[in-house]
Symmetry: C2
Subunit: 587 residues, 2 copies
């Protein structure tokens, strides 16, 4: 297994044997450990001492289903703390196939005018990966949908591309790291926390992979791995949410719009209500029916990355049947829709496409535009105005830069008090006042407000593992802690978090995940070991944040959620601070 270190100060690289101490780490576990070890906690996120670490999960690159994920880590320009964001993409198994445990981008050129790309291939003679630098300046300043084909033209159709859009070039705290999907769209993002601009600050525009001739992932115990894989497949194919033509495959993640709206937990017009009258018009069902009307046939969803059997990525089509965008995720749909008071799927689709084109995180973009609407920059519901604001972000104008700096900073600049952010990061699509457990995750996660860090929506809304009352704060700190620890392991396994719906309900599926990982590593980890692994990752992240000046007092939802009751349940966020502190205090 290899570590590739790419030094952007002088555009050199090293391919080293991965140190033995990291043998049992991968994905988020490895990116967070390396960031904690190698990045000074008080480094400026856009300065020379920050790093960007890419690491595929334990089973990424294998035939394990829904496991083509790669973690991206660094110090976040958005939160000022540690960050891991992950994405599913053909890029991920290619890195794994070359047996690259971590690709670490370091340093920063003094000259700021030029951008670089790196081309990573398998050197069959040397039996290890090699790296070539190329001038990526010609690819800068443009829409990624225009640029990606040029890069494929240069390197051929077999490559996969990661990098940053203009948002990353500008240094926006809201710039994601882009990856290709199965159809070579620049549309799969390790979106949150601004790691795209850490790449940009290092003047690294693209990382192009070509795994031709690479040996593929080594599996220590193939029989065990196969056993686990089958259990996992069975679980995913059985569960109502993840099975073929099930909830996700039919309606995409936007199936949640109506569900959360019904629960009164769909944040609407900058978190001023939990219910949006326009929800049905932007729901997953509306996407399915709209496509059916425009295409004249039912369209089920597709995989974003190789080997996924959940296949939840949708495509939204124009009236003439051409593609408008892929994909409208629940979070994007909500952020750019309900949260902005916009109920027009074509407008939402256009905004998703623009975010992908410019390299922006859709969640942060929508939440920040909601704050701008609150400030009166444009009115709620103004779809044209919102589209225009995203163009301003793409152009790097002053208002574009304000919005590109993310929810917390934009709220400060615009003088707004209703700013739905924790640690500067905008809140995703679940209202803490209506779903208390997810509020605890938002408040306490090492990542800032992040639903994927501990998705208690599964039990609180979807009834996975048995239904829990979303309005009650009781027992939710422990619930969030368990979800956060388990998630830290799933994020290290290489699996998409969406396996959780199935494996938390179907015990054999959970065991399947453990078997797969043990099969690859030759370990004999138990379910307890998994939780311990996750807890250790969280502790590492937490220690980094504390050293970076983010104390437990930052583990709070914004004040307005304690002052303003949220319709329709008219509840405030009533989780005691002591409960919040117990999440990591009792880790």
């Amino acid at each position: 297994m290899w570590f590739i270190r790419i030094n952007m100060t002088d555009q050199t690289y090293k391919v080293e044997e991965a140190p033995a101490e990291y043998k049992y780490l991968a994905g988020r576990g490895l990116t967070s450990t390396l960031v904690a070890k190698e990045v000074p906690p008080l480094a400026h996120p856009l300065g020379p001492n920050n790093k960007v670490v890419f690491s595929p999960g334990f089973v990424t690159g294998t035939s394990a289903p829904t496991s083509a994920r790669v973690s991206v880590g660094g110090k976040s320009p958005l939160t000022g703390g540690i960050k891991e964001a992950n994405a599913g993409s053909p890029w991920a198994p290619m890195l794994a196939d070359m047996r690259v445990k971590a690709l670490i981008v370091e340093g920063q050129p003094k000259e700021k005018d030029k951008f670089w790309g790196v081309y990573v291939t398998w050197d069959a003679d040397a039996g290890k990966p090699k790296v070539e630098f190329f001038d990526a300046t010609p690819y800068t300043g443009q829409n990624l949908y225009d640029v990606y084909p040029k890069v494929y033209e240069k390197f051929g159709e077999k490559v996969a591309i990661a990098g940053c859009g203009v948002a990353g070039e500008y240094g926006y705290a809201n710039a994601g790291v882009v990856f290709d999907d199965m159809a070579k769209r620049p549309s799969r993002y390790a979106g949150r926390g601004g790691l795209g601009s850490v790449l940009g600050s290092k003047r690294l525009k693209f990382i192009v992979l070509n795994a031709k001739g690479a040996p593929g992932v080594e599996i220590a115990d193939k029989a065990l791995f196969e056993e686990g894989r089958k259990k996992m497949i069975d679980a995913l194919r059985t569960h109502d949410i993840t099975k073929p033509k099930g909830g996700l495959n039919t309606y995409g993640t936007a199936v949640l719009i109506n569900i959360l709206n019904e629960a009164g937990g769909l944040p609407t017009r900058n978190f001023s209500s939990g219910r949006f009258e326009g929800a049905p018009k932007i729901a997953g069902e509306a996407i399915f029916e709209g496509n059916k009307a425009r295409l004249g046939k039912e369209l089920f969803n597709h995989a974003c990355s190789p080997g996924c059997i959940i296949q939840c990525s949708n495509t939204w089509h124009n009236e003439d049947g051409t593609e408008k965008t892929s994909c409208i995720e629940y979070e994007s749909d909500w952020a750019l829709g309900a949260n902005c008071g916009i109920d027009d799927l074509d407008a939402v689709g256009e905004m998703v496409q623009l975010c992908n084109a410019y390299g922006l995180d859709t969640i942060e973009t929508g939440v920040t535009i909601g704050v701008a609407m609150e400030a009166g920059v444009i009115p709620f519901g103004d779809a044209k105005g919102a589209i225009n604001l995203i163009h301003e972000m793409g152009k790097g104008t002053p208002i574009g830069r304000i919005l590109g700096s993310g929810t917390g900073a934009a709220g400060k600049v615009l003088g707004v008090t209703r700013v739905p952010a924790v640690k500067g990061q905008g809140m995703p699509a679940y209202e803490p006042r209506a779903v208390k457990g997810i509020g605890i995750t938002y408040a306490t996660s090492t990542m800032g407000a992040d639903h994927t860090a501990g998705y208690t929506i599964a039990p609180e809304i979807l009834g996975v593992m048995g239904k829990q009352d979303p309005l009650s704060p009781e027992g939710k700190a422990a619930l969030s802690r368990a979800f956060q620890a388990t998630t830290a392991f799933i994020d290290s396994s290489g699996h998409c978090l969406f396996i959780a719906f199935a494996i938390l309900d179907i015990a054999s599926g959970y065991q399947g995940m453990i078997d797969e990982v043990n099969g690859v590593l030759g370990t004999n980890w138990t379910a307890d070991d998994i939780l311990k692994f996750g807890s250790e990752v969280l502790k590492t992240e937490r220690a980094f944040n504390e050293a970076a000046g983010i104390p437990k007092e930052a583990d709070r939802v914004p004040e307005f959620m304690k002052l303003e009751p949220l319709p329709p349940h008219n509840q405030t966020f009533d989780v005691p601070d002591a409960a919040l502190d117990s999440v990591y205090g009792e880790l």
Copy 2:
């Protein structure tokens, strides 16, 4: 003694006997104690739970020289921590004359379109102050130099006015609280930390005082007070810096420009050098000589507030002999001059006038414009461009709002890594890499980067109390701690900090300050008690900050000062973290 509580939620007020527990607190000691006690540490600075507290010092309103100061406290929109800023103004002794120990502005109206003013007078019948509310909406959205005369017209020439400019109306983190000077200019600011926008968030535009008939400050031991006052006057009239036609009276605070430039500690072009080739053109000497040339006579400086015998406020004149602005302080001169690479006194004077007109802190404005220059918004040295940017701030345009949000936030929005700020607040006019003690004060002060919090420049540059090597970090943590504690007392006494030059060199002057305070209060505090008082104030402030999520890890200078050696001494900031932590750790 009275507490006036002004509730902006419903425009009501209460005049209460000041609680006995606050008897031995005033000025900063009282504002910080009240803020710590009454403002939830995690309150949004612009939300209904923040407060603005005004308190005159112990001897404010008496005949003690140079003591017409008022402290303003609250939770800072700039730093997110506790804030005290103070100013000298006729307003201060008027509040003291009415025996108002604290004027506390609370709450927030739901309706945001209307602004209010309050008129505080002495009710001779009731034997206490009374408050009337008036509609201040007609005074909003305008240059304060246009508005102030209208307010004087309404209330008569005997009143004094405090409030906020458009910067405060907009909610800028860089909005100061304005006070009148002796010539009724809106030019004396409790500038730092954005408390002007806390007033703005409460829709309180002006606080107009009329002390007619008020009883004046009660003095418990007149003989002791007189003794102290004489010692203080002797010290101030004797010391080279503070005596008539001495350094401050002749050249103003801008006398420091050449001195700091010579020491290599004058931050230049956004803290990229410690020496500015244009320094002599903007120095205090150039102001004196320029006025002489334009007026045909020597002009010595005047007092900003009643009873000041240092009289350091200058006036800068146009070529035709008319007034351009008053006053060009050293900090403003440096921030808008050297720090922006601008060596044109007329341009600096115009910018000072604009900052006063719009309600902006000159230091924060200049430091933020320096960051914008670093980002390439305009080039260094572009005086016209800088003037235009201040107009943009006055207009509330997107670039104006970015700059109005202060150094830390603007640095984030503009994607700059060389951001000279601590806790979000821009650094004043002394380079931490060239003057280590002041760097320790910047890093550790509860106020964010603030030279007035512990002015070690006195010994390190000016040789007050004996010269200390500015480049050496040795012993500077203890020095900063002692200065910070002493300053917390001086800021509570009602004296201007500039008495420190004299009283730290002349022991009888120091005793004079203590005697004055003991005379007013009837106490018998010693020099040790003074230090203990200051330490307690610091501890109170520190505890608030910690509860507000500002930990000791925030007590650091920005990373670039540890990475980039500063010309001409080519030193980095080499004070160990442990020394920084010892400042409050050993308090």
